[in-house]
Amino acid sequence: MADQEKKVLGILAEFANPAELVKAAKEVRDHGYEKFDCHSPFPIHGMDEAMGLRQSPLGFIVFFMGFLGLLGGIALTYYVAVIAYPLVISGKPFFSFQAFVPVYFELTVLLSAFGAVFGMFHLNKMPQLFHNLFYSDKFAKATDDGFFVSLEGEDPKFDAAKAKKLFESLGASSIELIEGE
């Protein structure tokens, strides 16, 4: 604010332990903030409810991809065994689906796994090599033993002073303004 070149991009508050963080998350949500996140070195039970997050839609992505894999497997084996290269093998029909089941299964699993991993990347906007939070000095602790609430400047209700007051009242052990270009 004071410095022309640096802008306030958000605010970061550290809390003592997972329980404090869950409590803080509830309060921040109840104050109507939307663009906030709670950072911890491991996932904390009950945090989704505290932050009011909806269930992850990843299951649908995976189901769709798995279905695609199954159909792809059926199409591939049918094309190869019936249309492109029909061969009579041990007197069985061209389309002996029994023998293709392992292939169907593996392709279903393979595409489902792609759905799970790349779907997760998509939902998490990964890879995102830079984020405003990396301007902070303290934030490195979030992957070690720090428990943080971050509030982004883009939040419609964002006001650095008000947010600071809120975090203070919640017992944050340290509060830092995220400043950058």
């Binding site: 996932p43 989704d48 292939v103 997760m120 070690d144």
Partner: protein, 465 residues
């Protein structure tokens, strides 16, 4: 309900700690990061040099194999399958424990798995790499190995989807890919931890790329945990399918001793059995060298021994079941092959297998033995020997003495069989040592998650510390 919960005065039954001592979140990070950050110990160079030379030997021999052809192996008529397939099945099997630990034990909420899963998953990937060497090189004309894949080509020729060998391509290929993804997803938060601890710019930049910008926000954890759960759910049937498909290589044929319906679950049990033995061998060494006794605790080792006892019994069950049904079937050839295994020219291999796989694990009925490190170390090695011999017995006895006695012959391996097999150990340990040196060998975020203070409820009962 609350009235009852208050009134009942129940002692909580403790099984022993998941992590010993009184670790804090920071001390867990520090402990696990120490080895990769501390620089390279001399012993590591010695081991790495040995592994690298062994790998060199293997690759040289493989090069010679490409030049000369598979005639340099001990395979002959009627045993057209030899060490290549034995080693393939053995290595794939070893990989299975990693997936079991990371996926199945995860689904069953066996939280003790956190100490060993990372490392077991790494073992899976490297073991599968070693396994994949063999189907790659055994075809003779390696330069047409791409025939194994359904690729459009100018000859209009397609692979035969009714061949179990093609199913292998799909099964093992999927298994490798999914295991790698699973492993990598598990590594992301830990790579971010390393990124945040990195001292040099280059290291930080590299780790920033590989950790994909992980911030540990709950909005990320939410999808991450879901993805992890789904991958575990997918890997569980996948791991069953892989060794089942490998067993189909044998079981769909009509060779006596191969064509039997118990093969799929029996192979899976054997794979988990040998995989746990390998995890045990490696874990005992790594925990000693890197001083991780308080993270890989006696409880973990004991649990692994129990699983080895269990899967050893399953394998024993399958041996006896096969033997009985071979007799019960009334089929002359089935009977003959099983009698031949027990008292024929390969009886020494058969009884080695029985001794190592069925007799040795019995020692783990005793709690004292389950907690005795030298005993479990020796047992784990013997089990892996036994499981190699299991595949040897299956492949060699059935092939070298099939329907026509006039074509029976005795199989002996050559220098090249042994050398290439040893070479895969070189490949395995080269990768494994690189992993130990540069990556977190225990899942940092997961270990933190199982500490008592990770649970928000902990603070309600105990107050603040």
């Amino acid at each position: 309900m609350s009235t009852i919960t208050k009134e009942t005065d129940l002692k909580v039954h403790e099984d022993g700690e998941l992590v010993e001592g009184n670790p804090t979140f920071a001390s867990v990070t520090a402990d696990i990061s120490r080895a990769p950050e501390a620089g390279t110990p001399k012993l590591w160079f010695v081991a790495f040099g040995a592994a690298l030379s062994l790998m060199g030997l293997g690759l040289t021999l493989i090069g010679y194999l490409f030049w000369e052809g598979t005639g340099i192996w001990g395979i002959q008529n009627p045993a057209g399958w030899g060490w290549a397939i034995i080693n393939f099945v053995w290595w794939v099997g070893i990989g299975h424990a990693g997936t079991l630990i990371s996926a199945i034990l995860f689904l069953f909420r066996q939280r003790w798995r956190t100490a060993i899963n990372r490392f077991a998953e790494a073992m899976t990937i490297f073991a599968v790499i070693c396994a994949l060497v063999f189907p790659g090189i055994h075809v003779g004309r390696v330069w047409v190995a791409y025939f194994m894949f359904p690729l459009p080509n100018q000859m209009g020729m397609w692979p035969n989807f009714r061949s179990p060998l093609l199913w292998d391509v799909f099964a093992v290929g999927t298994y490798f890919t999914v295991s790698l993804l699973f492993w990598y997803v598990g590594l992301i938060p830990d790579l971010a931890t390393f990124r945040d601890r990195a001292k040099t710019k280059i290291k930080k930049a590299a780790l920033a790329v590989f950790s994909l910008g992980w911030r540990g926000g709950n909005r990320q954890w939410q999808h991450y945990e879901r993805a992890y759960l789904i991958l575990a759910g997918l890997s569980t049937p996948l791991v069953l399918s892989v060794h089942s498909v490998v067993s189909f290589d044998f079981a769909v044929s009509l060779i006596p001793g191969w064509h039997t319906t118990i093969f799929p679950p029996y192979f899976v049990a054997g794979a988990i059995f040998s995989g746990f033995a390998m995890v045990m061998t490696l874990a005992l060494i790594a925990r000693k060298i890197y001083g991780l006794e308080h993270i890989i605790t006696m409880r973990h080792l004991e649990n692994m021994n129990k699983i080895m006892l269990l899967t050893g019994m399953m394998v024993g069950y399958a041996y006896s079941c096969e033997f009985f049904v071979a007799w019960y079937s009334g089929n002359l050839y089935e009977k003959a092959i099983f009698i031949n295994r027990a008292i024929g020219p390969y009886a020494w291999a058969y009884w080695t297998m029985i001794f190592c796989n069925v007799v040795v694990p019995q020692i783990f009925w005793s709690r004292k033995m389950r907690r005795n490190i030298p005993v479990m170390f020796v047992a784990s090695i013997l089990i892996n020997v036994g499981m190699w011999f299991e595949r040897f017995v299956i492949v060699i006895t059935s092939l070298s003495q099939d329907f026509l006695p006039s074509s029976w012959d005795y199989f002996s391996p050559t220098f090249f069989d042994v050398g290439i097999y040893l070479g895969t150990f070189g490949i395995f340990f080269t990768f494994f040592l690189l992993f130990l040196r540069f990556l977190p060998m225990v899942a940092i975020a997961e270990i933190k998650g199982v500490l008592p203070q990770a649970d928000p409820h902990y603070y309600e009962h105990n107050g603040h510390h």
